[in-house]
C-alpha cells in the first residue's frame, strides 16, 4: 500500500556517437507532458584542458580544433587570439581576412547542417536532403582553401598556415552566388510553409529572462531577443571592417531559432563576399619568438555562440592552465527552462533547437515504472512526425 510511486522517466541518450559530445537526458513525464529534466554529460570526457598543459603553445591549435568537428575553426581561433593577446602580437591584415573567410564558411555549413537535421526531426526529409546538398559546395570550398573539409588546421599563433590563392578568389565569389540562390530558395520554402509555422511557433520557448539567467549565447540568445554577438561586440579578425547585421528575433521559440540561423547564412555570405573582394596583399603570418608569463582571454563567435578560451603562461613553452568554454556548455542547461511543460512530441525538436553538439540518431527510450520500454528512439521520432502530419491535415 505504502509503495512509493515513481514518476515515469523518459531517457534520451546516453550515447550519440555522431558527434563528440555524449549526453543523457532524463525526462520526468506526467502523461505526455514533461515535468522535469536532468542532463548528464561527460560519458566521453577527453581531458582536453589537461592535455593542453602538456603541449607546446604552437601544438595546442591542432588539439583544440579537434574539440568539435563542426567548430574546428572557432576553437583554434579563440585560442590563438588569447595567446596573441598574451604575447602582444598582431597578425598581418591578410591573415585576419583569411581567418574571417574560413570562419564564416564554417558558419554557413554548420547552419545548413542544423537546418537539415531540424527538418528530419519533424518529418521534413526534403528539407534535410536539400540543406545537406547545398552544404556540400561549402565544404568543397573549404577543402580547396585549407586542404580539409573539416579540421582545417589553418590558424596558428601569429597568423595563418595556408594562404588563399588569388586565382581561387573568382571561384569563391561564383560559388557564393550559387549558394546564396539555393539558400534563398530553401529559406523561402521553409518560412512560407504554414505547417511549419503551426508546428514550430510557441514550441520550446526560452524567455529573455531565462536566456539571461542561463547566460546562453549565439543564435539561442539572439532568438530570445538578446542582441549579442562577439563578432560585433569585441571585434576580432576582419569583422570590424565589413558590413553585416546581427539577426535577432524576440519570440524565443523553435521557429525563431530557425529564422535566425537561416538569415544568418545570408549575413555570412555577405561577409565572405566582402572579405574575398577586399583581401589585402601581404604576408599571412609574423614570427612569434616567445610567450611571456601572464594570462589572457580569447573569444570567437562559433556557429553555436561564443567560444571562450583562457590561457595562462609561466613564461615557459607550454600553457600552465588552459580553460575552454564551448557555447553548448551554457546553451544545453537552458533545456531546464525550455522543455518543462512541453509535450513529448515537441521535445526532440526543442532539444535540437539550440543546436547542441549532440546529434539525432541514437537511443531514446521511455521507461515506465515497471522498467518496460514504452517509447524508443523511432517511436519518439514518429510522435514528432505524427504531430506535424496532424497539423498538416488540419490545415488542408
Amino acid at each position: 500500500m505504502n509503495k512509493k510511486v515513481r514518476k515515469p522517466v523518459l531517457a534520451v541518450g546516453p550515447f550519440h556517437p555522431l558527434q563528440e559530445e555524449m549526453e543523457f537526458f532524463q525526462l520526468t513525464v506526467d502523461g505526455e507532458i514533461v515535468t522535469d529534466i536532468d542532463v548528464r554529460i561527460s560519458y566521453n570526457h577527453r581531458g582536453i584542458e589537461k592535455i593542453s598543459e602538456s603541449l607546446q603553445f604552437d601544438q595546442v591549435p591542432f588539439l583544440v580544433s579537434r574539440i568539435c568537428g563542426i567548430c574546428s575553426a572557432s576553437h583554434p581561433l579563440a585560442y590563438v587570439q588569447a595567446v596573441e593577446e598574451l604575447a602582444g602580437v598582431k597578425p598581418p591584415e591578410r591573415a585576419l581576412y583569411v581567418r574571417t573567410i574560413i570562419n564564416e564558411l564554417e558558419r554557413i555549413h554548420s547552419h545548413l547542417l542544423w537546418a537539415g537535421l531540424a527538418g528530419h526531426f519533424i518529418g521534413y526529409d526534403t528539407v534535410f536532403m536539400w540543406a545537406w546538398k547545398y552544404r556540400e559546395p561549402v565544404l568543397d570550398l573549404l577543402e580547396e582553401i585549407t586542404g580539409n573539409r573539416n579540421n582545417y588546421g589553418n590558424v596558428k599563433v601569429g597568423g595563418c598556415r595556408e594562404d588563399i590563392a588569388d586565382e581561387l578568389r573568382p571561384k569563391i565569389l561564383k560559388e557564393l552566388d550559387e549558394i546564396e540562390k539555393k539558400t534563398d530558395m530553401l529559406t523561402k520554402a521553409v518560412l512560407d510553409d504554414p505547417i511549419l509555422h503551426a508546428r514550430l511557433k510557441n514550441v520550446g520557448v526560452l524567455s529573455k529572462e531565462d536566456a539571461i539567467g542561463y547566460a546562453v549565447t549565439g543564435p539561442t540568445a539572439r532568438a530570445s531577443g538578446l542582441a549579442i554577438d562577439v563578432r560585433r561586440d569585441d571585434p576580432y579578425a576582419a569583422y570590424a571592417d565589413l558590413e553585416w547585421n546581427v539577426i535577432t528575433r524576440p519570440e524565443g521559440d523553435v521557429f525563431a531559432k530557425v529564422v535566425v540561423r537561416l538569415l544568418e547564412v545570408f549575413e555570412s555570405i555577405k561577409i565572405v563576399r566582402q572579405a574575398t573582394k577586399k583581401l589585402p596583399s601581404g604576408p599571412i603570418s609574423v614570427e612569434v619568438k616567445e610567450i611571456p608569463a601572464g594570462e589572457a582571454v580569447g573569444r570567437a563567435e562559433a556557429p553555436r555562440g561564443e567560444t571562450f578560451h583562457y590561457v595562462r603562461s609561466d613564461g615557459g613553452n607550454r600553457p600552465v592552465r588552459h580553460k575552454v568554454r564551448a557555447p553548448s556548455y551554457v546553451n544545453v542547461p537552458s533545456f531546464k527552462a525550455s522543455c518543462i511543460g512541453q509535450h513529448i512530441a515537441d521535445v526532440t525538436i526543442t532539444l535540437a533547437a539550440v543546436d547542441p553538439c549532440y546529434s539525432c540518431t541514437e537511443r531514446l527510450a521511455a521507461v515506465e515504472k515497471d522498467s518496460k520500454v514504452v517509447h524508443d528512439y523511432d517511436a519518439l521520432l514518429r510522435l514528432s512526425r505524427e504531430k506535424t502530419e496532424r497539423i498538416r491535415k488540419e490545415l488542408l
Binding site: S42, G47, S54, D234, F308, D314, R325, P333, K336
Partner: protein
C-alpha cells in the same frame, strides 16, 4: 555601458576588492578574497547586468601567487563595451577549500561549479545540486585530476 561608466560602477565595490587592474580597453581584472566573492558576483551580475561566461578553477602557486592556493576566476562579459571582466578569487585553505556558490542567483553557474568540485575538490556552499558532472561514477573519492600533485 561605456568602458568609463563600467570602471566607475566597479569602483562602488572597491572596499570588497583587493585590486582593480585594467589590462587593456577590453580586459579588466578584479581581485578579491573568498569571503567577498558572493557579494561581488551578485553585484556584477544583478546590479551591473554583466553576462556570465564561465569560471576557471586553478591550483595556483608561485610565480602567480607567493604561496600555494586555489584561484577561481569568474569571467563576465559586458557586451555593450565588449569588455571581459575577470574576477579572481583566492581560496587560501588548501585542506578544506570552500567558497559560497553563486548558482542560487545565477543558474548558468550550476554545471561549472559541479565541474570545479569534481576536478579540484572545492566545496561550493549552498549549491543546490553538487553531484558529479564530469567524473565517472567509479572515479575514486578524494582524487582531483587538476590538482598539481596529480601527475601530468
Amino acid at each position: 555601458m561605456k568602458l568609463q561608466e563600467l570602471l566607475n560602477r566597479l569602483s562602488e565595490i572597491k572596499d570588497k576588492l583587493t585590486k582593480i587592474e585594467q589590462a587593456s580597453e577590453k580586459r579588466i581584472y578584479l581581485y578579491c578574497e573568498a569571503e567577498n566573492s558572493y557579494a561581488v558576483n551578485k553585484f556584477l551580475f544583478e546590479d551591473l547586468g554583466l553576462r556570465f561566461v564561465i569560471e576557471t578553477g586553478i591550483d595556483s602557486g608561485p610565480p602567480f601567487n607567493p604561496i600555494d592556493c586555489f584561484e577561481i576566476i569568474y569571467h563576465y562579459s559586458d557586451d555593450e563595451s565588449g569588455c571581459v571582466v575577470n574576477l579572481k578569487v583566492f581560496i587560501r585553505d588548501r585542506e578544506k577549500p570552500a567558497i559560497e556558490s553563486i548558482t542560487p542567483f545565477l543558474p548558468a553557474a550550476e554545471w561549472i561549479e559541479r565541474e570545479i568540485h569534481d576536478i579540484l575538490g572545492i566545496d561550493f556552499k549552498n549549491h543546490p545540486n553538487l553531484k558529479r558532472l564530469i567524473l565517472s561514477d567509479d572515479w575514486p573519492e578524494g582524487v582531483y585530476p587538476l590538482r598539481k600533485e596529480v601527475k601530468k
